[in-house]
Subunit: 334 residues, 3 copies
């Protein structure tokens, strides 16, 4: 494995191999495996789980890490090619990326969507420009359109709760006071499709995921024996579901147009998951969310504090699955 | 030891055991003792000594640590139960605490007083709510009403400077431009009482520590052969003192009422420790402060730069005593 | 070596020894050399390379490090002697420095120029006051008038690109929207002089470096067989040059007078390095800069993205040369 940037760059077999390695590392510690190795972490955006789980994961494998956060103790970084840099940014990623990468053995980058140009964000253009000047393996800590570390942890969680190969996975939009990126829903739908599940995207009109994302997920589903469809009908979506994965995201049809987007969201406060959503589902249907989650906005306390919720387990699985990724990228032969 | 949250949860013997372990660790390094162990550190408030001494202490024991600071590169966290989270906070501590704890083997939390509800702060309600959802040992890095790490370091410092068991310990209020928390004075008075000292709290009218704090300290004093009393008379307080411990704190009688509190503090600028304070004390009387300290506001340069001051030694002892705590919580059998 | 604060505190032989050690450490890792050692890092100003390269370097030698950034999760620190601290700063460096130093085995400090008092900044008065209260070896991470870590990395880079002992080194002023410190140009001119090069400082009128800096560089040049001179004539400066080192700096004749300084800089936007600057130079003339660099302000993309640029290699050499410094300060006998 040369980099870990998109789940769709891996075969299903490679994903299963990473998950098996995560199991092995949890059961049989390899505290010296990455001794002398250093992970550089570059965060353009806030983080709790990602920063903590990567630092802890490197330490558990015997390696070390360092963190750079532009604008928070480090220079603001410019990403536009050809820019005349007489504004706030003191440094360009074309220098910063190879410099930071050179101090480490791999580089993790978190860089959220620009949020104005849907085509550029769906193509992960900014992330790929940074990856192109990075001389060491790159890890995607959440980019404009993907969050493969989250997807891997979610897959492991779904395995742990015993959802069958062809189980029903509902990704549902939820209300949120802000227009949020597409990265997690895009990653979740692809993960579930690649796992071979019956995937239903439940969302209001205007909130359908971009065609490129859906097409890629459908291809993955085809190869894995699953399916992907969309609906705005909650009862139909939840009928017989094994998993409800909630997440808010911006309306692709109003991408980069805040007023239109807000108008589309107005009136959708009712899209807050509560126990009643699960009535048509299987009794054992679980609730998933990538976190952070706004309580009583995206989902009610009764769900998060009840037995359906596996959100903490998902977060915990971030560490074990990322350790598998680090092991494959930096650990030499297994 | 299952957690290190309040000194009053430990017996005097357990405290003496920690101090003996700190001595041993300073003399005989155990650089592999916490190999493979990870300390998660969550700071809701600023830190210099606590962050540095815990990171250094873990490293000296062969372990690792990571730091999360909500609002500084990480999401702001909600602490209120039942909150509808449509404001600034993106995540609730009910998720964040178990998630961070799960990446580590112990979790340190710094969470200063809310400052509006005295009863809730004296009961450390917010801290205990977080501790209740933490699946690994919790360390109090300063809560609303306690700072046990500071207390342990101060005890060691008092031992080092040769103060006898029943020596006289004066905790004195000092002027400060802001209304400060009660955690350090509450911790100091309890520590000195549990050590069996003659404890005098020297403070202006209105600044008496909460009854629950004083009652607990008096109980500890009784069991250890010491005593605890209050006075506003400086000469009486300082008569024959072995130690003057200065600290500013808010007026409990005006808790959560900033205007009344400021009125009580107005006119107290003279409560700035200078050399003259020590005239009635023993010649060798030492000056202590937990740091950070505002020079020429809380205490004059002549004291801090003179031979009485042991403030740097107190800070240094943070590391050794905390290493003893980490050793007991994470190190297996000694 | 007791500290690493100024290159001019080292003999040429000691510098060559550090460079040889950097070579050895890059070729033959010593991953256990600083096991159990801790580097304290105190940043009053932003950093990318310095923070990352020191943390990575300590880890590559088996040691650990921690970072404190006043005002960013830590208290603001006061530096003025005798200050009545009733403002924003909660702690004085006279406490903070010995405290942090005591948790580590060496202390690195970054503290940029005050920018108002040229004599004080040229004497590095603020830095030396902090160094005076530090009980462990001090490393200068960039002070008011020096950046010896950068100088050492630059020397190594110049060796690597094969510039002869007496080669021509041009330090050129460049335009920048802000008045920048003198530390890097002062460090660069001294380094090049001590290496025995023909040093030309190319700058507009008013931007000549302080006499104390130039005198010290001239002395170093004399001892090493080199020379140091200044000019405002670009063609003369670049004639036969081996290296062009670009950097912006404030006008010493207008130090601490922002309006006069801005007036001097106005009209100098043309001092942006492009390929035409290299016409009179040797064909293989290289471009150097300490980074961060503002593209198309200080230097054009065509230079940074072309074969002349060695800026990333300079940054990379920070790690290896600093590892040599750490090794000498903390590593015992070689």
């Amino acid at each position: 494995m040369k980099r870990f940037v998109h789940l769709h760059e891996l075969t299903r077999t490679e994903v299963l191999d990473l998950l098996a390695l995560a199991d092995r590392l949890e059961k049989t510690p390899e505290g010296e495996r990455l001794k002398g190795k250093i992970l550089a972490l570059l965060f353009f955006n806030p983080s709790l789980r990602t920063l903590a789980s990567f630092q802890a994961g490197m330490a558990r494998l015997g390696g070390a890490s360092f963190v750079i956060s532009p604008g928070q103790g480090s220079w603001q970084l410019e990403t536009r090619l050809g820019a005349v840099m007489d504004g706030a940014a003191a440094e360009h990623v074309r220098e910063a990326i190879p410099v930071l990468a050179g101090y480490g053995d791999a580089l993790g980058i978190r860089s959220f969507a620009g949020g104005t140009d849907l085509a550029a964000d769906v193509a992960d253009a900014a992330f790929e420009e940074m990856a192109a000047v990075c001389p060491v393996p790159v890890i995607n800590l959440e980019s404009a359109i993907d969050h493969p570390c989250q997807a891997l942890a979610d897959w492991r969680t779904i395995d742990e709760i015993g959802v069958p190969h062809g189980g029903k996975f509902v990704l549902s939009w939820a209300w949120h006071p802000k227009a949020l990126p597409l990265a997690v829903p895009a990653a979740a739908v692809h993960m579930a499709a690649l796992r071979g599940m019956e995937v239903v995207v439940h969302r209001p009109e205007g909130f359908g995921l971009p065609e490129a994302v859906m097409d890629r997920a459908r291809l993955a589903a085809t190869l894995s024996g699953g399916s992907v469809r969309e609906t705005a009908d909650r009862a139909e979506a939840m009928e017989g579901a094994h998993v409800l994965y909630a997440k808010s995201w911006t309306a692709p049809v109003a991408y980069g147009r805040p007023e239109k987007e807000a108008a589309l969201r107005a009136g959708l406060r009712g899209w807050c998951v509560d126990e009643s959503w699960f009535a048509p589902a299987r009794p054992e249907c679980r609730f998933m969310h990538c976190l952070p989650v706004r309580r009583n906005v995206v989902v009610r306390d009764e769900v998060l504090d009840g037995p359906r919720s596996v959100v903490v387990r998902e977060a915990h699985n971030r560490m074990w699955t990322q350790m598998a990724v680090l092991h494959r990228l930096l650990g030499g032969a297994a």
